[in-house]
């Protein structure tokens, strides 16, 4: 028999405020997970196959970091700008964000050197510029290539199976755990009506569950691999 309080309807007036913390956390996680999923499904018409683009990317970064000619730097910049211009605006913004963050970090790291040794300033600025362009190129590649295309590109370049495999599994985990965090926080939000003084504890609990679930799944996944013939000697993908 149901307890009496369950048979009746509560008259509940929520106190004002609260809840925004969880809402914000969920929004940012959903956004991150959503981006991953979006990348998965996206198949923009590539001007070059993924393997060729990956090679091109590596070659350009190598060239950029080894070359001392200003012309090479300018050419790479132009190339990156051209590729960037082909992206939709929201993606340009996100490419620039990560590139700027990297450049800023490089600037902070090099700042003492630039202050102490003014003669090297020009070189240091060039390094920062190179980092800005390299990160931009990696990020563009990232935005235009599906993850499974990247792994198959690596495969075609004869990268050992174990590396590709690790990448694949990590990606899968990011998506699965991201979804799990999202679900847990959403269910928390749906039950946490009104103010909640324990919000940090709750998020701690969510992280704890995610960790435990992650380790358990990790073990089971390893077993599933063993059951299908995996013996730590990876037979090419």
């Amino acid at each position: 028999m149901l307890p009496v309080w369950m048979e009746n309807t509560d008259s509940y007036v929520p106190p004002g405020g609260g809840g925004t913390f969880a809402v914000k956390t969920i929004r940012s996680i959903s956004a991150a997970v959503g981006k991953l999923q979006f990348q998965q499904g996206r198949e923009s018409k590539p001007f070059l196959p993924a393997a060729a683009r990956l090679l091109l990317l590596l070659a350009l970064i190598l060239l950029l970091s080894l070359s001392r000619h200003l012309l090479v730097l300018l050419a790479c910049t132009a190339l990156a700008m051209m590729a960037l211009a082909a992206l939709p605006p929201d993606r340009i913004l996100s490419v620039w964000k990560s590139a700027l963050a990297a450049a800023l970090l490089a600037f902070l790291v090099l700042l003492p050197a630039m202050l102490l040794r003014p003669a090297g300033r020009g070189n240091n600025l060039i390094i920062i510029w190179k980092i800005f362009i390299s990160v931009q190129m990696v990020s563009i590649f990232n935005h235009t290539t599906q993850w499974n295309r990247i792994t198959s590109a690596l495969r075609r370049l004869h990268v050992p199976g174990v590396f590709i495999f690790t990448i694949d599994i990590s990606l899968k985990y990011i998506v699965l755990l991201g979804r799990l965090i999202n679900d847990l926080l959403t269910s928390y939000l749906l039950r946490a009506v009104g103010k909640n003084k324990q919000k940090y504890t709750s998020v701690g609990g969510v992280m704890g569950v995610v960790f435990l679930r992650g380790t358990e799944m990790n073990r089971q996944m390893y077993e599933a691999m063993v059951c299908r013939g995996f013996t730590d000697d990876y037979e090419g993908l």
């Binding site: 799944m217 599933a224 063993v226 000697d233």
Partner: protein
């Protein structure tokens, strides 16, 4: 010689006091079907881990085709591959079985691990895609599929190895009516083909149609009961 045989097997999880499996004796003949029933937490999954050589009895022994299966025996890579090639295991949670970038690679994983030639791997993979009606998903990432689709992919991945024994942990859970009917039919065909089936299920119809033997898991003791062709243990 039976296909699988457990003799007075007990198993306790490390750090726990109560054994999950307590003095269990069980014999499974080739080509028969064993249904395992019992409430949640009664040890069905644990039993399957023992049968798959993922855990080992504390006391008693487990024999597969006359060979005693021990941790040491399975340390040998060739023995391990041969053993796992013969036994297919569908996990309760298909998520843990799917770790490749595409559905195609997922199904091809097992045959590749076994070192089958490329053409044979490709042929089996395509056949499985078709058999389980998931051809249109071949290039998709498995972790973006729905629950029922994941289960089909996981089963296809197991069947690509063409195991002699198929162990299924709650295969019907989370499937829609169409998929249930498909699976029911598929398992009957497997049984007709002479495969050995072991399944944990709450599906009455499936048990009635296929099971030769029913094992009821109970805490703390277990009892055997027989349907159709009785077996002495």
């Amino acid at each position: 010689m039976s296909c699988m045989e457990l003799r007075n097997v007990s198993y306790t999880y490390p750090g726990e006091k109560m054994p999950v499996i307590n003095n269990l004796t069980l014999q499974i003949e080739k080509g028969t079907c064993l249904a395992v029933r019992g409430d949640n937490g009664s040890g069905k999954t644990t039993l399957f881990r023992l049968l798959n050589g993922l855990a080992f009895p504390d006391t008693g022994r487990y024999m597969f085709e006359g060979t005693v299966i021990t941790e040491k025996y399975l340390k040998n890579n060739r023995a391990s591959k041969a053993f796992h090639k013969k036994i297919g295991y569908l996990f309760q949670n298909p998520d843990v079985m799917l770790f490749n970038g595409t559905v195609y690679d997922e199904i091809a994983f097992g045959p590749r691990q076994m070192g089958l030639p490329d053409e044979e791997t490709d042929r089996r993979t395509r056949d499985c895609l078709q058999l389980f009606g998931i051809g249109h998903l071949a290039e998709k990432a498995p972790y973006h599929l729905s629950g029922g689709q994941k289960k089909r992919v996981a089963l296809a991945a197991v069947m690509a190895l063409n195991p002699d024994v198929l162990i299924l942990d709650e295969p019907m859970a989370g499937l829609d009516a169409g998929s249930r009917a498909f699976l029911h039919d598929f398992l009957s065909q497997l049984k007709k083909a002479g495969k050995t089936l072991i399944m944990a299920t709450h599906d009455e119809q499936l048990v009635r149609d296929l099971a030769d033997q029913v094992l009821v898991m109970e805490m703390p003791n277990m009892e055997m009961s027989d349907t159709e062709t009785p077996e002495t243990v």
